[in-house]
Symmetry: C2
Subunit: 320 residues, 2 copies
């Protein structure tokens, strides 16, 4: 395996190509789409929030016909709904988000990838908010293209998109509409050192160091740490009478969607947390705007100290 740290962090199969796109997480999404979407291709997209919708938009721009399997925001996708959609209409590509940062929900991508494979479809998985925080097991899933970013679970600066291609996905290289995201040219650049662009050396060194840190901690230990801090946060919120939006079994460890209590000005709370405690949390997006706070615990930020600090600060601001 040529890129041991990148491949092992994704748990990619032998024969997979694991590189980093010179762009942000969204550039990883566009590279995946540019590789598999063609005019006439039929794509089925699992939409559980903001980035599932972005996948649809991007696939359509690249000429694919897109069908959606939608879920209520705040719930995980039901694999049987994907199965039914594939039985009734088929698909060449099935795309999905693993960890939905807009709703705090974890999708069962292992099951969906299995169903897609049985129906002969290639799979794209967005692991932007999961890699380095949640179990990502590309080889066991049998996923074809999985991309992430550097600034979340890996804890490096933003600016690169680690991405892995199965041998099967690699067979679709070439003929991409995009030059910058053409995986055939990128493979020539990374593997055979044929010039394509001038990579950002500082970002590559930073990614390397982040992957070394992942190896030193151990992937399982890292997942465990994220799980424990998520449980600690959920328990602390519970004592304050606050709850998380997704059901317990569907919750992310890296992004916690906290339901805003009735009568509370959610924007004022975020503003005070930032001004008084230097803690920035996210607002709800789309249908969840005003209804949730999004609290990240990822990479080096997922620590007991940060959980306690946040809970104490929130308690102070809410006067509970």
């Amino acid at each position: 395996m040529r890129w041991p740290r990148r491949s092992s962090t994704f748990r990619a199969s032998d024969g997979a190509l694991a590189i980093a796109i010179s762009g942000t997480g969204t550039s990883g999404m566009e590279t995946a789409v540019a590789t598999l979407a063609r005019p006439g291709a039929r794509a089925l997209v699992v939409v559980t929030g903001y980035f599932g919708d972005r996948l649809c938009q991007m696939l359509q721009r690249y000429g694919a016909t897109v069908a959606r399997v939608e879920t209520e925001w705040g719930r995980a996708c039901d694999p049987s709904a994907v199965e039914r959609a594939l039985e009734s209409q088929g698909a060449d590509v099935v795309a999905m988000v693993h960890a939905d940062t807009s709703t705090g929900v974890l999708n069962p991508v292992d099951e969906v990838c299995g169903i897609a494979a049985r129906h002969g479809a290639l799979t794209i998985v967005d692991a932007v908010t999961s890699l380095g925080a949640h179990p990502v097991d590309v080889g066991a899933w049998g996923a074809d293209i999985v991309y992430s970013c550097t600034q979340k679970g890996l804890g490096a600066p933003s600016g690169l998109a680690p991405i892995v291609f199965s041998a099967r996905a690699g067979g679709h290289a070439g003929g991409s509409h995009s030059f910058y995201f053409d995986i055939a040219l990128l493979e020539d650049y990374w593997v055979r050192r044929k010039y394509h662009h001038t990579i950002s050396a500082p970002l590559i060194y930073a990614l390397r160091e982040a992957l070394v840190a992942v190896c030193e901690e151990g992937l399982e230990a890292r997942w465990q740490r994220h799980h424990e801090q998520h449980l600690a946060l959920a328990a602390g919120l519970d004592t304050m009478g606050l709850s998380l939006l997704p059901p317990a079994a569907e919750r992310l460890w890296s992004l916690n969607a906290v339901v805003v209590p009735n009568g509370v000005d959610e924007a004022a709370v975020r503003k005070r947390l930032l001004a008084e405690f230097n803690i920035e949390i996210g607002a709800g997006l789309g249908p969840l705007a005003g209804r949730i706070w999004r609290v990240g615990l990822m990479g080096w930020g997922s620590t007991a100290t940060n959980v306690l600090l946040f809970l104490t600060a929130l308690k102070r601001v809410l006067h509970v």
Copy 2:
């Protein structure tokens, strides 16, 4: 003007949009192409080397019909050839490279932009090897989209592509095939703070610092420095019996194409310069492979000390 340092470094007109794409110089090229190329659009490309050819490839991927005005490698483009091509076949877009890094040649983009405008064509100018080293005067040229990189004349790390759009080019926003390079979405992100992607904070800070350094030195002083060091290098090479490939009036200051003397093993010279003096110079590309060395003097690297060091090292290696 919203982005004074970026705009003033390009000498862009009021009303221009000056941002930085989250990717390398090639991502700037693809953003320009994605904005102006459409299926059915007619593009005329000035090809004086490797990156003119890349412009053709990219424009074709985005659906444009491409005609080329070619020049012998090592010579600048003749504006009258562009004029004749536009008179005979017209074009919606004229694209060109300002400073050709593959041949060391400076193209008369001011004249070509004027001709294109008179024929109603929009213009794309690649200023990857010129911005911060040679006079770039987007406003006076009347160019529509001009892009560059951060790691050459500006002396910042690689990873961003500064780019400027005239108000006229901005009118072509929307409908791009690419999501990542869609200037309508990027303008919303930069100007109206609507989320598009997560920019690389360290690269933005580095670019800002590089532009501050440009302002402190002064653009004209910076151009003068590059010009003087180029002349010093050319004079030193001349005393060693070596010559530059382009005629004197067509030479770049930032990239010097040195003709390899007969009987000299050009690769061995590059290898020894690197091993013994830690100086890396470039090989010739395409038809110039084996025929030239490419010696960069750009950004903070364009100094009298570096010129002397290089000349002394080359003299030692060549035994002249």
